[in-house]
């Protein structure tokens, strides 16, 4: 099959630093993280800042969502606008990498404190859960909300599976454009750090950094960030204003014992790395996976995206690719390699280049 070159034509990004390409371009030379080290101590987080959701999302829709969906819808809108594709949303395809939405943690804590029996627990849930929360929490309802609010009406898929779901979403979006089964695809996701139920899950895995924030190479654990990241992909040949060419995306997954071999193979199969190629690692900070990724790279990357944004789980890899595209658009690099290794499973690489 003859494959078409694929361009990134729009970037929507909102993080602890604020919204938009310019804000994030200013971070590429290195920047201090925005942190909240107190609220979930001993776990530092990169918090969600005040963002103008109410300007981008109608009031009645705001009430149907919580912040995770709002952040994704907001970032998707930024990407659509950045690409100048508002007129073409009816035929726009969509792939979202999602986690779960927010739990009602106050209700959870009431139940934990009461320690009721099974019947009592069900009664507290029956009385306490808001009917609308279910839809605010369903993983695929970020995609659903994007369709409703931005009228995106092509195909719609939501991938699950922590970090690798974000890389796989990008790979499939790129492959669909390259193979001419999609002409315009919106891809990305969102993650919010300030969620006790998320800290609970990853605490179980002993993969969280505790104590004051440290840069990624100096710590052994993850520090979560809050960001929404979406990009539009189009065939490079017909893209009016390409930000960067997404030359290559590849993913793999298997047992952790054989991760070094898969990372080496992914890097070896990445085409045409030029001397001076910038390297952005989306490593999580989780010890074993990060160690394997750095060993495979052989040299320290130019940037750890988690040091700027915090670790973003599902959108971590898309965020690294978005930063790479911004670096190219800003003239900081002609070529950028992006790597990622899931804290539990999954490996990914992408290569971006300046448009011709």
């Amino acid at each position: 099959m003859k494959l078409r070159p694929v361009a990134i034509t729009g970037i929507g990004i909102a993080s602890s630093h604020g919204q938009g390409r310019a804000v994030h371009a200013a971070l590429l030379g290195g920047a201090a993280p925005v942190l909240d080290e107190a609220r979930f101590a001993p776990y530092p987080v990169h918090p969600l800042p005040a963002l103008p959701f109410d300007e981008a999302i109608p009031h009645r829709e705001m009430r149907q969502m919580e912040n995770w969906q709002r952040l994704g819808v907001f970032a998707a809108g930024l990407a659509i606008d950045d690409a100048g594709q508002r007129e073409n949303v009816a035929g726009m395809d969509l792939i979202v990498a999602a986690g779960g939405g927010e739990r009602d943690w106050k209700l959870d804590e009431q139940i934990l404190a009461a320690q009721p029996n099974e019947v009592g627990r069900h009664r507290m849930l029956l009385d306490g859960l808001r009917p609308t929360l279910f839809l605010a929490q369903l993983s695929n309802l970020m995609a659903g909300s994007i369709s409703i609010i931005h009228n995106v009406a092509g195909s719609s898929r939501t991938f699950l599976g922590e970090e690798i779901s974000g890389a796989e979403a990008l790979r499939v979006a790129c492959a669909r454009i390259a193979s001419a089964t999609s002409e315009l695809c919106l891809v990305g996701g969102a993650f919010i750090s300030e969620r006790p139920e998320v800290l609970l899950l990853f605490s179980m895995g002993d993969v969280l950094h505790q104590g004051p924030w440290l840069p990624l190479p100096a710590r052994r654990g993850m520090v979560f960030g809050s960001a929404g990241v979406f990009m539009t992909l189009e065939p490079a040949a017909t893209a009016k204003s390409p930000v960067a060419i997404l030359r290559h995306v590849a993913t793999d997954q298997g047992r952790p014992e054989t991760r070094p071999a898969r990372l080496a193979a992914l890097l070896a199969a990445t085409p045409g790395r030029q001397p001076g190629c910038m390297v952005i690692s989306t490593a999580s900070g989780a010890e074993a996976a990060t160690r394997d990724e750095l060993a495979a790279l052989g040299a320290m990357p130019d940037l750890f995206s988690a040091d700027l944004l915090g670790h973003l789980v599902e959108p971590a890899f898309p965020a690294g690719v978005a930063l790479a595209a911004i670096a190219i658009a800003e003239g900081r690099a002609k070529q950028v390699l992006v790597t990622g290794t899931g804290q539990w499973r999954g490996e990914a690489v992408a290569l971006l280049e300046a448009p011709a």
Binding site: G100, L112, E118, F134, L135, V152, L160, L201, S203, G346
Partner: protein, 405 residues
């Protein structure tokens, strides 16, 4: 020219039993698998019935988690499909699987005696087995590793269309030439107290608790909601040339798939049905078929007032005054949510192979306004292609067309 996509194996687990042919026999007999929920206490809940697949690990008051059940059901259905295809692990292709999002559940959350999240987070530190159980990618990864599939397991959630989305992803990967074959599956086990309560709060469920077998009654005047159900379905999809080269028996084909996101509402279709009409039309276009070539529609047919009305309207709009028979096998197995698209595609294949239509049971008070033949009893039928609809919350609409061998 895209390759034709052959089906060389199917597998199925539902409340009617383990195995595709066992399910087929029960469906043709018009048996309902809906019964009172026994694995947890339903006091105070609006719905207390479901299509339960209880497993040996279920203990009173401490049932398997959704994550553990979804893994076991998925593994059973995929194992059956892989064996029928004459294959064994490692499987030389990707796993595409529709699955529900999972999370830590109350028996686990409450099991540490902690009274606040900070205490709970500290108390649960290092519980590696729970962490791996409740990672969103955990169950799909364990299934992928069990069957030795290639690359990243594509775990897709499009709510009640997830199983059909998985078929689409597998179809596209084969058409792109990324693989000669793929596993397309769906597995569902969301039936746990909190999810049942949440669907109940949305008023989406049938409350016909005193008549479990009559509760799922799609297309009738007295339909009052869907019935949650456990289940899993799997299909082995192959490039036809790949299947022929290895001497596999071709059971049928996935002729095409279509999809259209609805921008109208989170739980309701555009009132003119245009999104679901577009979805079915795209599937027909993808298959290169005219509406008249479809001999059976396996409806989404959830038994909710809204779905069945909109779906019948859309079918009549697309197929004209004399649409093909439109049945809902959810009348017997309940709504298996993330698995429904895969299970019902497999049912279409069984119907084509047997040249027999499975019934929609509980049709005593058929809604006359809907204007479709809902197949109240199983009957022989000569046909070459079937269309399976799957519509999910969030405006997710997917249609898949299955063809005879």
């Amino acid at each position: 020219m895209s390759p034709r996509i052959a089906i060389t194996g199917i597998g199925m687990v539902t409340t009617l039993g383990f195995g595709a042919e066992a399910n087929w026999a029960a469906m043709v007999a018009g048996r309902s698998g809906i019964r009172p929920i026994r694995r947890f206490d339903t006091t105070g809940m609006r719905a207390s019935i479901a299509g339960c697949v209880d497993l040996p690990g279920d203990e009173p008051g401490r049932p398997l988690s959704a994550s553990a059940r979804v893994e076991k059901l998925g593994e059973a259905a995929i194992g059956e499909a892989v064996a029928q295809a004459g294959l064994a692990p490692p499987f030389d292709g990707p796993l595409c699987i529709g699955m529900p999002p999972v999370e830590v559940e109350w028996p686990q959350r409450g099991g540490f005696g902690a009274s606040s999240y900070p205490d709970l987070i500290a108390a649960a530190a290092g519980q590696q087995a729970l962490y791996e159980q409740f990672l969103l990618g955990g169950a799909a990864t364990r299934i992928a590793e069990r069957f030795g599939t290639r690359g990243v397991p594509q775990m897709v959630t499009t709510a009640c269309a997830s199983g059909a989305s998985a078929i689409q992803l597998a179809l596209e990967a084969i058409r792109r030439g990324e693989t000669g074959m793929a596993i397309a599956a769906g597995s569902e086990a969301s039936l746990q107290p909190e999810t049942l309560i949440r669907f109940g709060l949305l008023q989406a469920l049938s409350t016909r608790n005193d008549d479990p077998e009559g509760a799922s009654r799609p297309f009738t005047l007295s339909r009052d909601g869907f019935v949650m159900a456990d289940g899993a379905g799997a299909l082995i999809l192959e490039d036809e040339a790949h299947a022929r080269a290895r001497g596999a028996t071709i059971l049928g084909y996935v002729l095409g798939a279509g999809e259209a996101a609805d921008t109208f509402h989170r739980t309701r279709s555009t009132p003119d049905g245009s999104a679901i009409i577009r979805c079915m039309q795209r599937a027909l276009d993808d298959a290169g078929l005219a509406p008249s070539e479809i001999g059976y529609v396996n409806a989404h047919g959830t038994s909710t007032p809204e779905n069945d009305k909109m779906e019948a309207l859309a079918v009549r709009a697309l197929f004209g005054a004399a649409p093909p028979p439109v049945g809902s096998t959810k009348s017997m197995i309940g709504h298996t949510l993330s698995a429904a698209g895969a299970i019902e595609a497999a049912i279409c294949l069984l119907a084509l192979r047997h040249q027999m239509l499975p019934p929609t049971i509980n049709q005593a008070d058929l809604d006359p306004d809907l204007g479709v033949d809902t197949i109240p009893l199983a009957r022989p039928h000569a046909f070459r292609a079937a269309l399976s609809n799957s519509f999910g919350f969030g405006g997710q609409n997917v249609a898949v067309i299955i063809g005879a061998a």
